[in-house]
């Protein structure tokens, strides 16, 4: 077996001539994907792949090249291409590789040693059990779609010319499916649920299946309500989509480029006292946890908004140099094919004390939002926030009829200020980045439906 860390170091040594700064990443992945339908396996894929990416900085000019082919010839072409690309890039004094810092030796709970020994048969059984839990939940659940189990055993090796050389392994297991419900009139709805963990044993297939079924049933027969201003209670799936956009607005790079509605408001109260937002790259068992970030900086926990007050932003080494601060370890890496880019790691809202049931009990009249579609409707630049919504109507603290075909609209500014309850049910939602969110109550939102 190839020692990839040694290979990465040898490419750094070859390419780092003169004043060139060089960084080499190698990724290696073994993945399994299983899809079942109507009690049978439909698709089974098991494979491995990986590749190398070379970043070269020549006097503040940065070039990048990557390849999936780890032959000597291809590797040489790749680092030479990266060196050559520097010539067209605008020099930038802040563009430097970070100086190596010691990486704390700490168990982050991201490695399932036993995953490699889990049989394909056991993984198939998990997917089948999840599908069965959905189909058996209620006779109105007529089928499932894309009932999938997947996992990966991945290694990341990183070395640079400043002397950094380290690697880590991370296992990931996930499962999801779409439940499709049909009522007597033939109306159909679907609902997705998912689970993910670094450990195979922590995936609860039955719970995922049942939650998807339950949600699909809630959405059946949804009708619009009259247009009004009111309270909404946001399910995890909904809150996660909004938080994913908020995370972009809390990136230092967005600020430096005038792409955040929060720009210039450091130290101000930007949200209600219920709002505490964290980014923590060392969260134990976090799906995005890693000992070091995409450029070798040790990951950290960063308090971004503390009880409503804007405290900090996320930084990588480049944006930190620009602002004269230190990196928060937020350089993310999309495998070997991409440059490190500034982004959230495990980004989450700190949970509150009330259960979701108690939150709903406290609402006189409003919408419990279970699903939204929002492509482009929540904007980190302008702070606009509008999306289409489905869910259940709340009246006098009780869940009533299904609501569909409505829209909800506010601004992210108002939304943060109007969060009046935060649930005690924080959930990691690894679909829109790695976002953790509890159930949220937001007041004073425009619910657009039929003419009142």
């Amino acid at each position: 077996m190839t020692d990839y860390l040694e290979l990465a170091k040898s490419v750094v040594a070859k390419a780092a001539t003169g004043n060139l700064e060089v960084e080499v990443i190698i990724t290696e992945n073994q993945s399994t994907s299983i899809r079942v339908s109507e009690g049978e396996v439909e698709q089974l894929s098991q494979s491995g792949s990986g590749g190398m990416g070379v970043r070269v900085i020549d006097g503040g000019k940065m070039g990048y090249a990557h390849t999936s082919d780890l032959s000597e010839e291809s590797i040489d072409q790749t680092w030479k291409a990266a060196v050559d690309l520097c010539k067209v890039v605008t020099p930038d004094d802040y563009r430097k590789l970070p100086d190596p810092e010691p990486v704390p030796d700490e168990d982050l709970g991201i490695w399932d040693e036993s995953l490699k020994d889990v049989s394909v048969e056991d993984k198939i059984q998990l997917a089948l059990a999840m599908e069965k839990a959905t189909l058996d939940y209620d006779e109105r659940i007529v089928l499932t779609n894309r009932a999938t189990y997947g996992d990966s055993i991945g290694y990341t090796y990183l070395a640079n010319s400043k002397g950094f050389a380290d690697y880590y392994g991370r296992t990931t297991c996930f499962s999801f499916l779409v439940a499709i419900a049909r009522d007597e009139d033939g109306g159909m709805v679907n609902a997705v649920d998912l689970g993910a963990s670094n450990f195979f044993k922590d995936l609860d297939a039955i719970a995922i299946g049942e939650k998807a079924a339950k949600k699909a049933l809630s959405l059946l027969g949804g009708e619009p309500v009259p247009t009004q201003k009111g309270t909404v209670v946001l399910d995890h799936f909904v809150g996660a989509q909004i938080l994913a956009v908020l995370s972009q607005a809390l990136s230092s790079s967005s600020w430096q480029r005038s792409r955040s509605f929060l720009k210039g408001r450091m130290g101000e109260e930007v949200g209600s006292s219920m709002v505490t937002l964290m980014d923590n790259g060392r969260l134990k068992g976090g799906m995005a946890s890693a000992p070091f970030d995409g450029e070798g900086v040790p990951t950290k926990a960063t308090r971004l908004i503390d009880e409503g007050v804007l405290q900090n932003l996320m930084y990588d080494s480049y944006s930190a140099a620009k602002d004269g601060v230190v990196s928060t370890g937020n350089a993310q890496r999309p495998g070997h094919q991409g440059l490190p880019t500034l982004g959230a790691s495990n980004f989450y809202m700190q949970e509150g004390t009330k259960s979701p049931e108690e939150i709903i009990k406290g609402v006189d009249k409003g919408l419990y939002v279970l699903t939204v579609m929002q492509t482009g409707g929540v904007d980190p630049v302008t702070g606009e926030c509008s999306m289409s919504a489905n869910g259940l109507w709340i009246e006098n603290g009780e869940l009533k009829q299904s609501v569909g075909g409505v829209t909800i609209a506010t601004t992210l500014n108002e939304l943060l200020q109007n969060i009046s309850d935060v649930g005690n049910d924080l959930r990691q939602m690894p679909i829109f980045g790695t976002i953790g969110v509890p159930t949220l109550r937001v007041d004073n939102v425009t619910i657009g439906g039929v003419d009142a």
């Binding site: 082919d69 291409a81 067209v88 779609n145 499709i180 247009t227 699903t371 829209t407 039929v450």
Partner: protein
């Protein structure tokens, strides 16, 4: 790429455990991306991505294994891994691989290397200068240039051997305008399955001016009203509505399981009689165009809806085999060798109507016109859709008046298709940077003439 003899050997290996069909997909992708932001060329990235996938069919079970090494040993290993689900032991029959030829001439006019990388970088710098010169209100400009060459080879045990070369150039420009803390962004992009002749057909310096103009104009935008209203959608990009809310429901994987509103409805009226819709992978230069799909099936023009009547779905081999259909419609596509194909759209559009676009606005007493959009999303089972107006205007007494921000239109695709009451005579496809996500990403085009939806729900913050 690997030669027919080796391909036949790998296919034979994959059939040894009793499969009905085996397939090899080989891919070789090279790419370049230059990105400008904040007045600097910041991104310069070259990539090579190549590998192979072996797919094996056992009735309704499909197994897959891929490798990023194109050696005989690695291909045979992938074949054995994919075949491992089979329980029998058979001696496969001889496979005769004959190359399929496509009548489609997609050869590019100007190859990527006719312009130096320095000139490509200079173009981005010129865009930045031009955008900022438009107005002092323009606070940020970003631009990117991408080229990508994707060569694919497909071999299968039914004797199919097909090869396709796909070349893409795409550019995008965007701006942010700011006044008194109010930020507005705009975006323009263009591209295609095309060479550098793209830049002769579209002037990037003109596109950045258009983007800057739109962002500045939107600074005066007022909040969009909420509620049910008439919405006029533009030609070109407007077709994203059909793509998201109807097109996906006509992809065979949603059809065969009964999870689509269009399952079992061929021959039935599913749209207003003024609506015809087409998926056509054979159009020269468009982003979704292919000579062969990623299963080796020739691409074709498929009429989905003719004068309101549902005619056909979009098929790949897996779904066609599932229902015992002879052939796919050439819609089996995949993101890369790491993915199995699935039914995907190519260039999908609502066909030409008869109204002048001006006439459609003039006949609308009150409503909104969405001039450009920023993406869309749909729920497949139910057909609900939502998309956002990036640049939108109020229509009052048949005239475009105030610019509107935050316009989000939501409705139900199949329902809206029955209700569309005016279709323009200005059919256009989008500018060619569309990326469709369905678990895997695929380059597609959408299109339509100007269309009017008499009553849909619009989200906004103003009462």
């Amino acid at each position: 790429m690997i030669g027919s003899d080796l391909a036949a050997k790998v296919l034979a290996e994959a059939l040894k455990t009793g499969a009905d069909l085996a397939e090899i997909y080989i891919e070789d992708v090279t790419s370049l991306r230059l990105g400008l932001d904040d007045s600097r060329i910041e991104q310069a990235i070259r990539g090579v991505d190549k590998g192979a996938g072996v797919r094996v069919f056992f009735g309704n079970l499909v197994t897959y294994a891929y490798t990023d090494r194109l050696t005989e040993e690695a291909l045979l290993e992938a074949a054995r891994a994919a075949a491992a689900a089979g329980k029998n032991s058979v001696t496969p029959k001889a496979i005769d691989l004959t190359e399929r030829k496509s009548p489609l001439q997609f050869n590019i006019e100007k190859s990527f290397d006719l312009m130096s990388i320095e000139d490509k970088a200079k173009l981005l710098n010129d865009i930045d200068v031009k955008g900022r010169a438009y107005s002092p209100l323009i606070k940020q400009v970003a631009a990117s240039y991408r080229e990508r060459s994707r060569k694919v080879w497909i071999y299968n045990s039914d004797g199919v051997y097909a090869h396709d070369d796909r070349n893409f150039v795409e550019m995008s420009v965007s701006t942010i305008a700011e006044r008194d803390g109010n930020l507005q962004s705009s975006f323009e992009g263009f591209g295609g399955q095309i060479g550098l002749e793209l830049l002769d057909k579209n002037n990037p310096l003109q596109k950045i001016e258009e983007a800057a103009e739109a962002a500045v104009k939107m600074l005066d935008a007022r909040p969009c009203p909420a509620g049910e209203m008439t919405v006029v959608l533009p030609n070109g990009w407007g077709g994203v509505l059909f793509h998201e809310a109807c097109g996906h429901q006509m992809e065979a994987d949603f059809i065969t399981k009964g999870g689509s509103a269009y399952s079992g409805k061929v021959g039935e009226v599913v749209a207003s009689p003024i609506i015809s819709a087409v998926d056509d992978g054979t159009i020269l230069g468009r982003r979704g165009s292919i000579r062969f799909d990623d299963e080796g099936t020739p691409s074709q023009r498929t009429v989905l809806i003719e004068k309101g009547v549902l005619k056909e779905y979009m098929w790949d081999l897996t779904e066609a085999r599932r229902v015992g259909r002879d052939a796919s419609t050439g819609n089996g596509r995949r993101q890369s060798f790491r993915h199995m194909p699935m039914p995907r759209m190519t260039n999908t559009f609502i066909d030409q109507g008869e109204h002048d676009p001006e006439e459609i606005i003039a006949n609308t007493k009150k409503g909104i016109f969405i001039k450009s959009m920023s993406g869309g999303q749909a729920d497949i089972a139910k057909g609900d859709f939502v998309f956002n107006g990036k640049e939108a205007y109020l229509i009052e007494d048949g005239k475009l008046t105030a610019p509107l921000k935050g316009a989000t239109v939501a409705g139900n695709g199949p329902k809206v298709l029955m209700e569309i009451d005016m279709v323009g005579n200005d059919l256009a496809l989008d500018p060619g940077i569309g990326m469709c996500g369905k678990g895997q990403s695929a380059r597609v085009s959408v299109g339509q003439p100007t269309v009017r939806l008499p009553k849909v729900n619009v989200a906004g913050t103003s009462e």
